[in-house]
Symmetry: C2
Subunit: 193 residues, 2 copies
């Protein structure tokens, strides 16, 4: 299947799967088009699917008691996005997830992921490695927020996600690094001198 080529390639970078296993895997998947600003998840819904981005770009975030958005993650093509809390507990999600650009995503529902683990146990390995890598990144992000200034966090962001810096509205970057859009704007003009 054309539309599952990317996810198969992504999986194959960590584990070897036969054509048969790949066929079984893709039988558990579905694709979905998500329009700009369209939600695939709103806080309070149960959302237990893991979501792989074929193209476009999504983001996950919360909205605090003052109505301010705080972005947890961007998901450009080839990345996974979801709500771990909801996937693990089966309870309502704490996050919103929507599309920044028109996107195509691949969905792997929790029940199917569990079937996959039963039938093809090496997928346990794939998801273990995937989440261990994410974990290393998230731990670094916590430390960065604790120890770096806003300018330094922005510089790191630019190095880590050069493609995103070019295409994201800067209020999203401000939210991700943890400052207000106004302060971010002032900071940028100061940095360019």
């Amino acid at each position: 299947m054309e539309k599952f080529e990317r996810i198969i390639n992504s999986v194959s970078r960590y584990i070897n799967i036969t054509g048969e296993e790949a066929a079984y895997f893709t039988s558990l998947l579905s694709t979905k088009l998500v329009r700009r600003r369209q939600f695939i998840l709103q806080e309070g819904e149960v959302f237990t699917s893991s979501c792989f981005v074929n193209n476009g770009c999504l983001r996950s975030y919360t909205i605090d008691k003052n109505g301010v958005e705080h972005i947890l993650q961007f998901a450009p093509p080839g990345w996974w996005i979801g709500d771990f809390y909801s996937i693990i507990t089966g309870k309502p999600a704490v996050l919103f997830i929507d599309a920044i650009d028109e996107s195509e995503v691949v969905l792997l529902p929790k029940e199917n992921r569990e079937l996959l683990f039963e039938k093809v146990p090496k997928f346990e390995r794939f998801f273990r490695i995937l989440v261990e890598n994410s974990m290393a990144g998230n731990q670094q992000r916590i430390l960065d927020k604790l120890s770096l200034t806003a300018e330094e966090r922005f510089e790191k962001f630019c190095l880590k996600y050069p493609a995103l810096v070019a295409c994201l509205p800067q209020k999203y970057i401000a939210s991700y690094i943890g400052v207000t859009p106004e302060f971010f704007s002032k900071m940028r003009s100061k940095m360019s001198k």
Copy 2:
């Protein structure tokens, strides 16, 4: 083995293992006594072992360019601690890990963990679940740092780790929630009114 009882129990909460598998697992482990303030890892060393706490308490942290410590994690009994970056990449660690109290830890070196995955694949499942749970917690911590005030973060910390609040020096809690010890002290006295 007495000293591996706790880790076996911990693993058994997520996967069923036979006596034989447990025996193989424990053959890959070693224990170590860590005295108060003693390091099991200093930044720049390669440290690829996963570390399970039998008793006592450890912490992982970085030291920034001004010499200030920033605590990433506390590891009371039953918790795992390590440096994901070093485990995954094999490169020098970015963290320090030392004992807050006299502790006994169980060490699982990376090579042994990989042997374990080969021989008893369901351990892939155990570690996947373990790290998915950690991931959910870490994502929440990022969002808390982005959206909550220092007071709110402290209140959450008290709810989540009541046992730690009672026994940790408060400068460690300050570091974990991301404020200076001086500010933390003032905040506490303000909150108690």
